[in-house]
Symmetry: C2
Subunit: 335 residues, 2 copies
């Protein structure tokens, strides 16, 4: 089978690609071709696999090529992140809505009703001015996004449901929780600090936490997120049983619990590298995000959240140790 | 003040225009200019008013002009109807989503944060495959459109909420119920028969009802609908108290009750002109529509549904009698 991952050179995309290549099959069929579309080239380890091709450039420019390729399945992960969408409305509309339409129109034009997993987001939820969010948002909580990013994700969810109803594609929307711990540099996502406050201290660097320690949020490890994306892809329409958007499992934690876990796993001197310095812009965005989420429909597919934030940190440390630059990413770790 | 009505030459748009011109003011300000944008020219009685201008052509082509005009307020009623959107997916996306984006981008470019009332629809609601609709859909029922029309309306609702949050416009989305009795010819809306089964017999012609008599649906008279659009325009953000989309009031009636009302108002010989002949395409669309709606938030604005379907029919008859061609539209009426 022939698969496409948009955002395939990004953190989740590349990790999903590695997992799929190692499995060798998806939904019972061998993976013969895996195209990684992104604005930059995929990591060299992926390009070294004979099954992999890179497709570099803006998704908006690749509609005809994607239609002609007739993919059997797509993971649509490409997205501008919440912070940049909030700063530049037009960029968000173009990157998240128009690009998705280009992709979906191309998949429809291909005529083979490909399966599509769209990475939606917990950011579709938000409080009404007149009505606070429930403490835990469920699969069927009424979305009310309070960011342009969440708005664009919700618009795509609705469009994918309709195009699936029409028989153009076989789509489903997996609402990703905040994935942590992300490696690399901070990005423009308002949620970037949820990784930064763990990653930077482990690397021996100071980290700024822009929100209060009491802030609670639903998070998921990269491994659990990848596992969930694949399971949602492999689910039959009957298993999805209705609505095509579902919450992925989350561990609902406070920043305080995250930092306590960091101290427990890496020691108090690492924990001490996190300073609190409130950023009103970030804090304002995060204040409108859910404090926790439930995932009954994902649970019915057998998907479970991470068991503890300590486990999430240990997973990150193990991932770093498997990389050649482990000494750099774990410079702060003395035990 | 300067107002724009898109779909301003259509049935609701022209009637709204007449009501606004007769009032002379909106939200306490005199109406100096009323632009009626539509694919065809407005009725001549409207063009005869010195305050009225027509803007003919596709909304998609008028972005720059609308931006330059700096409207104080907009009623955005222009839309492809449900039946045609279901037959031609691309037409619906272009007419209902792309045109709305062109309009909203133009209003944002004008820079004066105009007030916008968007005519959304009860068609945003629908049953999940796994979960039937509640008997009555409320303001905060989770939308799950089962038509492309409803999907496009929902996408616009969400976009308008975000552009309002950003301060680009001052938007609100009024979910219209099925407006009946519409004058004129049947159109491609799947709901067209809700008017046809009353209008055609009153004109002495046979009418086909494509669904069972037991089908229940939320309806509203033209007069109540116009009244509600104006009230939603005039509502302050505080009065809206949260979510910017709300259900307009409806009378929830079965086709049987509609026909009983027709017999009561116009006599059994008029009622006898309605024949049942099931149309699977129409019946399939209607089966996924709500059987009734509630409108708590509209009610808090003082808006009430029609008191009975008899009243709706009497309103239609009175409207016809006020027109020069009353003898044609009421040819079936012998009392």
């Amino acid at each position: 089978m022939k698969l496409l991952i948009t955002g395939g050179a990004g953190f989740i995309g590349a990790r999903l690609a590695r997992t799929l290549l190692a499995r060798g099959t998806l939904a019972g069929r061998p993976i013969d071709r895996l195209v990684l579309a992104d604005q930059f080239a995929p990591p060299s380890d992926l390009l070294a696999d004979v099954r992999v091709r890179g497709l570099t450039g803006a998704l908006l420019d690749h509609g005809a090529g994607i239609a002609a390729a007739r993919f059997d399945g797509v993971f649509h992960l490409a997205s501008a992140v919440s912070g940049e969408c909030e700063l530049d409305f037009d960029l968000g509309m173009r990157s998240n809505l128009d690009s998705t339409r280009t992709l979906l129109d191309a998949l429809r034009a291909a005529g083979n009703m490909p399966r599509v997993v769209f990475s939606s987001s917990v950011a579709v939820f938000g409080p009404d001015p007149g009505k606070p969010l429930p403490p835990v948002v469920a699969d069927d909580t009424l979305p009310a996004p309070q960011t342009s990013y969440g708005t664009q994700k919700l618009m795509c969810e609705v469009l994918i449901a309709d195009m699936t109803r029409k028989g153009f594609i076989d789509g489903r929307s997996a609402r990703l929780m905040t994935v942590t711990v992300r490696p690399g540099r901070p990005n423009a996502a308002a949620s970037s600090f949820f990784s930064g406050v763990i990653r930077e201290p482990l690397a021996g660097a100071e980290a700024i936490c822009p929100v209060d320690a009491a802030v609670s949020h639903p998070v998921s490890s990269p491994a659990r997120t990848i596992e969930a994306l694949i399971r949602v892809y492999e689910a039959s329409r009957d298993e999805l049983n209705g609505r095509l958007a579902l919450n992925l499992p989350s561990l609902n934690v406070t920043v305080q619990q995250m930092l306590d876990a960091l101290a427990a796993v890496a020691g108090p001197q690492v924990r001490a590298l996190v300073k609190f310095q409130r950023d009103e812009r970030i804090a304002g965005i995060v204040a409108n995000w859910p404090k926790g989420a439930s995932a009954a429909r994902a649970s019915a597919l057998g998907l479970m959240p991470d068991s503890s934030f300590e486990d999430i940190i240990r997973q990150y440390i193990a991932d770093c140790r498997a990389q050649p630059d482990a000494h750099l990413t774990l410079k702060g770790l003395t035990r």
